[in-house]
């Protein structure tokens, strides 16, 4: 689960990790009032959306007066912000963070991630802060410091010293830095983060270390034990159809194409999308109804696909294992009767109770196109939407 920068900074504050003084505004008037509360200029106005690269898209502005605060807030709020990570449509900005400007001497980079291949927790740091870290890693790998921590043993002072030494920090800063890293690690573990990134972590003229930015993502699998963090979920940042699907425990992702598809199992769903694409069409979504889906989930999945107005045809691909073909067929027939099918539907069934499933579909009297295998299914749906 993604959270906003201002929410990540709230988490930082509660873990005694220094962040600039700042407040969240939803209108230009608000922004001016809050800038006044900060007391001195410059202040920084930062768009709050769930995407990176905000600076590049014009979503971060520095203001030297209340007039400039108002103009910056007016330019950002209520409009879509396009960044390298949002796609061409951008994301509508509903909130800005109004923050105290700082006297910056140096910018560092720090992040913590779970390292899949070693099953250790990796701390990544660099003196090249404020830049795209993937680019730094590609062009100057020597500028990146990586330290692995066994989560059973936890963080030790040696780890912190190693990073501080790699960043060539002065002795007085190295002490502050180590204590900061320990707090960040603590936050990472306690809130089940899947990403914690500060870019940049700044050193000020007064030799303070302050998290100028904050990016935190929480492991979805751990949300059941992170009730305090759940309040940070912002459904405005999510696709409305995805929000609807999540109510039924459906794995649905809205995409740009026009072939809706419903598949059981994530791997098969991805492979089905690939087949649609290689047949010359574009998938409108990813939808994994899961191995243990029931009739209700199938029905809701089908309804959600059809409510996407871009969808010109639907491909249903089910390999019956735990999810039996007859259950799938019942769900589709019910959904079709309730919502009505307004586009052609191609169905490919295989596996457990396949004959029974085909009988139910045939007896329904609905206009469903059956495919004999995967290639046939992808070819048929591509032909239909290509007309």
């Amino acid at each position: 689960m993604k959270i906003h920068e201002y929410q990540a900074k709230e988490l930082f504050r509660s873990h005694h990790i220094p962040v600039p003084e700042g407040y969240v505004a939803t209108s230009p008037d608000d922004a001016c009032t809050l800038a006044g509360r900060l007391g001195r200029f410059p202040v920084v106005i930062k768009a709050q959306i769930h995407a990176g690269g905000r600076g590049k898209g014009g979503g971060v502005k520095i203001a030297g007066s209340l007039d400039e605060v108002r103009r910056a807030a007016e330019a950002i709020l209520g409009r879509p912000l396009v960044t390298p990570q949002t796609g061409p449509k951008g994301k509508k900005v509903r909130k800005v963070l109004v923050e105290q400007g700082l006297d910056i001497v140096q910018e560092l980079y720090v992040s913590i991630i779970p390292d899949r291949s070693t099953a250790k927790i990796m701390i990544i740091a660099s003196r090249a802060g404020g830049m795209d870290i993937e680019e730094v890693a590609a062009q100057h790998p020597e500028k990146i410091i990586r330290v692995l921590i066994n989560p059973l043993a936890g963080i030790e002072s040696d780890h912190c010293r190693e990073i501080a030494a790699g960043l060539k920090l002065t002795d007085s800063l190295a002490g502050k830095f180590s204590s900061l890293i320990e707090k960040l690690y603590g936050l990472f573990i306690e809130t089940d983060c899947s990403l914690l990134e500060i870019n940049p972590l700044v050193i000020t003229a007064r030799e303070e270390l302050i998290a100028l930015d904050a990016k935190v993502e929480i492991d979805d699998n751990a949300l059941f034990r992170q009730k305090d963090v759940l309040k940070f979920r912002d459904v405005d940042e999510e696709d409305p159809l995805e929000v609807e699907a999540s109510k039924y425990n459906l794995n649905y992702i809205n995409l740009n194409g026009n072939v809706g598809n419903m598949v059981n199992g994530a791997g098969l769903a991805m492979a089905t999308m690939d087949l649609i694409k290689s047949a010359g069409a574009e998938p409108a979504n990813f939808l994994d109804v899961g191995g243990g889906a029931n009739e209700e989930m199938v029905e809701n999945g089908f309804r959600i696909i059809l409510s996407d107005s871009n969808v010109k045809g639907v491909l249903i691909n089910i390999f019956g294992g735990i999810l039996r073909c007859d259950v799938l067929a019942e769900g589709v027939v019910k959904a079709a009767r309730k919502t009505g099918i307004n586009v052609p539907v191609v169905i490919r069934l295989q596996g457990t109770n396949v004959e029974k499933g085909r009988e139910i579909l045939a007896a329904s009297g609905l206009n469903l196109i059956t495919a004999k295998d995967l290639s046939d299914a992808a070819g048929k749906i591509a032909e239909i939407v290509g007309k």
Binding site: Q85, P114, R116, S117, A119, K120, I121, E134, N150, P151, L152, I189, D192, S194, D219, D220, N221, A222, F224, R225, N251, I253, L255, V263, N264, G265, A266, G267, L268, A269, M270, A271, M273, D274, L275, I276, K277, S278, P283, F286, D288, G291, G292, F319, G320, G321, I322, Q350, G351, T352, D373, L374, S375, D376, A378
Partner: protein, 289 residues
């Protein structure tokens, strides 16, 4: 021959009295698996059909000599269940549970270091040696006993699709297993490749990957160095958008890493026969093997 499991395997099921646990235990028994015990804390002394239920893995192992455990425990308690089986030195632990927190699995994987047990999964369909034993949730009837192909995959239903096409073409399997769709898992591709390479009856290997992580790249490097048997590969997710978790927790393209395109390129370079049309997978394998 086969890898990891055969008709001698004595299975215990952790979480046997839950809905999923019961359903799949019955399916496994029907397939011929020797299910000797179940474990559900607080339900010791009961039976599930004819299978005795114990309060702990320790009791179950002591009483029945179980050497393999299949885990259906809910995500919040699954890591503890795995640890319990590790502590009793159960040879093989197959964790079906989906949705275990990543941090729990990182701890479990480090705990496993130097221990006797092998862990398959979590978030996996399990393992089957066709005609001998089925430990997991895959439909048994799609498999064809007798080999000569070993199948290893990060997916569930995609594996069924692949196996079904093999069987339809008359190509049998020695052992088929899913290593799971989570970012941190127990057994990896390389462990399975090594076992298949050493198994005399396995003449060829099918490896099914997907986007995210570097498991396919690591497997390709290993195959280039150590595997002499022919390998057919497939990677799902060519059309997946970056930064989105495609159902499996581990199936995510982060930045420019973990894409299907780059995995396929590395696999081809290592001499793996990569099939790019799932609809013709069976024909493709018939051509290679």
């Amino acid at each position: 021959m086969s890898i990891f499991v055969n008709k001698e395997t004595r299975l215990l099921v952790q979480g046997i009295t839950g809905r999923e646990g019961q359903f799949h235990t019955r399916q496994c028994i029907e397939y011929g698996t020797r299910v000797v015990a179940g474990v559900t804390p607080g339900k010791g002394g009961q039976t599930m059909d004819d299978v005795p239920v114990f309060n702990s893995v320790r009791e179950a192992v002591q009483e029945t000599g179980a050497n393999c455990s299949m885990i259906f425990v809910p995500p919040a308690f699954a890591a503890n269940a795995i640890r319990e089986a590790i502590d009793e030195a159960v040879d093989l632990i197959v964790a079906i549970t989906e949705g275990i927190p990543v941090l729990d699995m990182m701890r479990t994987k480090n705990y496993l270091q130097g221990k006797r047990s092998r862990l398959i999964g979590p978030n996996c369909p399990g393992i089957i040696t066709p005609g001998q034993c089925k430990i997991g949730i895959m439909p048994g009837f799609i498999h064809k006993p007798g080999g000569p192909i070993g199948v290893v995959s990060r997916s569930g239903t995609l594996t069924y699709e692949v196996v079904h096409q093999l069987s339809t073409k008359g190509i049998g399997q020695t052992t088929c297993l899913g290593i799971g769709g989570d970012p941190v898992n127990g057994t990896n591709f390389i462990d399975c490749l090594k076992a298949f390479e050493e198994d005399a009856e396995t003449k060829g290997i099918v490896l099914v990957g997907e986007i995210g992580g570097t498991a396919e790249e690591d497997a390709a490097a290993y195959i280039r160095e150590k595997v002499n048997k022919p390998v057919v590969g497939f990677v799902a997710g060519l059309s997946a958008p970056p930064g989105r978790r495609m159902g499996h927790a581990g199936a995510i393209v982060s930045g420019s890493s973990g894409t299907a395109q780059s995995k396929i390129a590395v696999m081809k370079e290592a001499g793996i026969h990569v099939c790019d049309n799932l609809g013709r997978f069976g024909d493709f394998c018939a051509g290679v093997f």
